[in-house]
C-alpha cells in the first residue's frame, strides 16, 4: 500500500463518527468513509461542509431536455405533414403533453442514472486499495490519505476512536 494511506476498520457507527470528527479536528481533510448502508449519523458529519449533491441538476437538465424534445418532436412533425384528423387542430397541444411528459420522465431518469455513474465514479474497474469486503457486510471503514509523515498521527487518531483494525 502506498505511503500516506491509512485505513481504520470500525464495527460501530458511533466510533466511526467519532473518528471522522477527530480526524477533521486534527486537520485531515482527504478521507473516504466506507459503509454497508447509508447511515444518517455519518452523513450528517460529512455533509457539514459539503454542498448538496449535484445529482438533481442532472435530473433537471435531463427532464427539461425531455420536455423540449417531446413538444419539439410532436409539433415539428405535425407541421411537416399538416394532416387534419378528427377536425382537430394540426398542432393539438393536449395530446402532445402526454408525449412531452413521458419523455421528461424518460430523459430525467436516464440522466439521473448518468449522474450516479459520473459522480460516483462508476464503473470502477479495480477495487481501491483501502477497500475491504467487510464493508458490504457489517463494518465501516475510514481511509485517510495524507502525507507519509502524518500517517502515524492518522493511525493513532483512528485507533483512539475505537478502530478494530488499523492498516497502512
Amino acid at each position: 500500500m502506498a505511503a500516506g494511506r491509512v485505513l481504520g476498520v470500525f464495527a460501530h457507527v458511533d466510533t466511526t463518527v467519532m473518528a471522522i470528527r477527530e480526524l477533521r479536528a486534527q486537520g485531515f481533510t482527504d478521507f473516504t468513509v466506507y459503509s454497508p448502508v447509508p447511515v444518517e449519523e455519518i452523513e450528517a458529519v460529512l455533509e457539514e461542509n459539503r454542498p448538496v449533491s449535484p445529482v438533481r441538476l442532472f435530473t433537471l437538465i435531463g427532464g427539461l431536455t425531455g420536455t423540449i424534445t417531446g413538444f419539439g418532436l410532436t409539433i415539428w412533425s405535425a407541421l411537416k405533414w399538416g394532416l387534419v384528423t378528427g377536425g382537430k387542430p394540426v398542432v393539438s397541444i393536449p395530446p402532445f403533453v402526454i408525449i412531452a411528459f413521458e419523455l421528461t420522465i424518460l430523459l430525467g431518469g436516464l440522466s439521473t442514472l448518468l449522474a450516479i455513474l459520473v459522480l460516483g465514479k462508476l464503473p470502477a474497474l479495480r477495487r481501491s486499495p483501502t477497500y475491504d469486503p467487510r464493508f458490504t457486510v457489517d463494518h465501516f471503514g475510514v481511509a485517510v490519505t495524507c502525507s507519509p509523515d502524518r500517517a502515524d498521527a492518522a493511525g493513532r487518531c483512528l485507533s483512539q476512536a475505537g478502530a478494530e483494525e488499523v492498516r497502512r
Binding site: 460529512l46 449533491s53 445529482v55 424518460l106 477497500y131 457489517d138
Partner: protein, 445 residues
C-alpha cells in the same frame, strides 16, 4: 401479543447470510418447476410460430372483436407491474419502512410483468417485424406517427415505464450485487464484480446514490400513475359504449395496483415459506398487503357502481344496452365472476385473522388475479361485441392458438422470476439493514 413474537432482531451479518443463502444451488424441485414452466413456454412459442405462419385468423381474430385476448392480457400484465412501482417508489417517498423486505421481489415482478406485457402488442400486431413503425424515426417522406393517437401515447408510456423500471431496479440492486460479490468466489465473484460496477459503498457513492434514488422515486411516482391512465385512454378515447368514460384513468390505475398486490402476495408467500424468510417478511407485512388489497378492492367496487350508475343515468340508449348485454347475455358469467372475485372475495380481508392467514390470503390473491383478468376481458370483448349497430355485433371465443399464447405468457413471466430469484438477491440486503438498529458501541437512548 405473545412474547415469542419479538425475537432478537437480525444483525447486519445475519441479513447478508440469510439473503445470500437464497442463492445456493437450487433443489431438484426447483428444476422440476423450471422444466414444467419451460415446457409451457415452449408450447406458447410454438403457438406464436403457428400464428405467424397462418395469420391472425388462427388466433380467432375476427371483426368486431379484434382486440380480444391479447389486449386483455396486455392490460393485465401492465397492471401487475404497477404494484411493484407503488411499493418501490410511492411507499419509499412515504417512508413506509415495511416495504423494505418485499420491494425487491415486487420490483422484479414489475420489470418482468412489463416485459411480458410488451410482447402482446407485438403478438397482436401480427407482423411484428414492422413493430418499429410505432416509433418516430427520421425518414425521407416525413412520415411520423400520429401523436394524437392513444396507441402512440401507449408506445411512449410503456417504453418509458419499462426503461425507468429497469433502471430503478438495477440501481437498487447495485450495492446488493457488491455484497454478493464480496461473499462469493471464483467465476461468480468475477461476474458479480462486473455487474456491481465496482461499487464500494464509499461516502461519495452513497451521497449521490441516495439523492438519485429519491429522484428516481419521484420520477417513477407520476410515471406509474400516468402509464395505466394512458393504457385506459386506449379505450376511453374511443366512442365504443362501455369505454367512452372519463372514469377510466383512475379506474384502471386502481385496478392495476389491486391486481399487482395480489401478484406480489402470490410470489412472496412461497418465497417466505421455502427460504424461511420469516424474520424479514413477517405477518405484519402480509397484514399491510392485505389491507392494501382490501382498500383497492373497495375503491374498485365504488368504480364498478359508478360505471353502472352512469350507464343508466346517462340515459344513453347504447350505454344502457351495452351494460345490459354484458350482465345478462353471452358473457354474463365473466361479468359476474369479475364482481365476485374483485368486490366480494376480498371482503374477507376485513378480518385481521384472514390478513395473516396465508392460505386465505393466497386464495384471495388468486381470485383477484382471475377477477382482474376477466375485468379487462369484460371491458374489451363484450363492449366490442355489442356496440351501436346490430350488423357489427358478434361473439368471440378463444382458439387453441391464442389460449396457448396467453398461458405461455404466464410461463414467460414465471421463468424470468424463477431465474431471477436464484441469481440475484430477491430481498434487498441494504434496505433491510437500513431498518435495523445500527451497530453502536455505547448504548445510549
Amino acid at each position: 401479543m405473545s412474547q415469542e413474537a419479538a425475537p432478537r432482531p437480525p444483525t447486519y451479518a445475519d441479513v447478508n447470510r440469510d439473503v445470500i443463502r437464497t442463492l445456493e444451488p437450487p433443489s431438484p424441485a426447483y428444476f422440476g418447476w423450471m422444466t414444467v414452466v419451460a415446457l409451457i413456454l415452449a408450447a406458447g412459442i410454438l403457438a406464436w410460430t403457428y400464428q405467424i405462419y397462418m395469420g391472425m385468423g388462427a388466433a380467432g381474430k375476427r371483426t368486431p372483436q379484434m382486440w380480444a385476448m391479447y389486449i386483455t392480457t396486455f392490460v393485465f400484465w401492465i397492471g401487475i407491474g404497477h404494484a411493484g412501482t407503488l411499493i418501490s417508489a410511492i411507499l419509499y417517498l412515504f417512508r413506509a419502512r415495511w416495504r423494505t423486505s418485499i420491494y425487491r421481489g415486487a420490483e422484479a415482478m414489475t420489470v418482468f410483468a412489463v416485459l411480458t406485457a410488451g410482447l402482446f402488442p407485438l403478438i397482436h400486431a401480427g407482423r411484428m417485424w414492422f413493430a418499429y413503425w410505432l416509433l418516430p424515426y427520421p425518414n425521407q417522406r416525413y412520415l411520423w406517427p400520429n401523436f394524437r393517437s392513444p396507441l402512440v401515447w401507449d408506445v411512449f408510456a410503456i417504453s418509458t415505464y419499462l426503461t425507468i423500471s429497469v433502471v430503478f431496479f438495477c440501481v437498487g440492486l447495485l450495492p446488493d450485487i457488491a455484497a454478493i460479490r464480496d461473499a462469493s468466489t471464483g467465476w461468480r465473484k468475477k461476474i458479480y464484480g462486473v455487474l456491481s460496477l465496482g461499487w464500494e459503498g464509499t461516502d461519495r457513492q452513497w451521497r449521490h446514490y441516495r439523492r438519485a434514488y429519491g429522484l428516481f422515486a419521484s420520477l417513477a411516482t407520476p410515471l406509474v400513475l400516468s402509464v395505466h391512465s394512458v393504457v385506459s385512454w386506449d379505450f376511453a378515447m374511443a366512442l365504443v359504449p362501455g369505454w367512452h368514460s372519463t372514469l377510466f384513468a383512475p379506474f384502471f390505475v386502481d385496478g392495476a395496483i389491486f391486481s399487482g398486490f395480489a401478484m406480489v402476495l402470490v410470489l412472496i408467500i412461497p418465497m417466505r415459506y421455502f427460504w424461511n424468510l420469516y424474520p424479514y417478511i413477517t405477518d405484519k407485512h402480509l397484514d399491510a398487503m392485505g389491507k392494501l388489497i382490501l382498500v383497492t378492492s373497495l375503491v374498485l367496487s365504488y368504480f364498478y357502481v359508478c360505471e353502472a350508475f352512469t350507464a343508466w343515468y346517462s340515459g344513453d340508449h347504447f350505454e344502457r344496452a351495452s351494460l345490459f348485454w354484458k350482465a345478462t347475455k353471452s358473457y354474463a358469467w365473466a361479468f359476474w365472476l369479475q364482481y365476485f372475485c374483485n368486490s366480494l372475495a376480498p371482503l374477507v380481508l376485513f378480518r385481521k385473522r384472514a390478513r395473516t392467514h396465508t392460505p386465505t390470503l393466497y386464495v384471495v390473491s388468486i381470485l383477484v388475479l382471475i377477477g382482474m383478468w376477466f375485468e379487462r376481458f369484460n371491458i374489451i370483448v363484450p363492449s366490442l361485441g355489442h356496440d351501436f349497430y346490430p350488423y357489427t355485433w358478434g361473439i368471440y371465443w378463444p382458439t387453441v392458438t391464442d389460449t396457448m399464447i396467453v398461458i405461455g405468457s404466464f410461463a414467460w413471466f414465471f421463468i424470468l422470476f424463477l431465474g431471477f430469484i436464484k441469481v440475484m438477491p430477491s430481498v434487498s440486503i441494504v434496505e433491510v439493514k437500513e431498518t435495523l438498529p445500527h451497530p453502536v458501541k455505547e448504548a445510549h437512548h
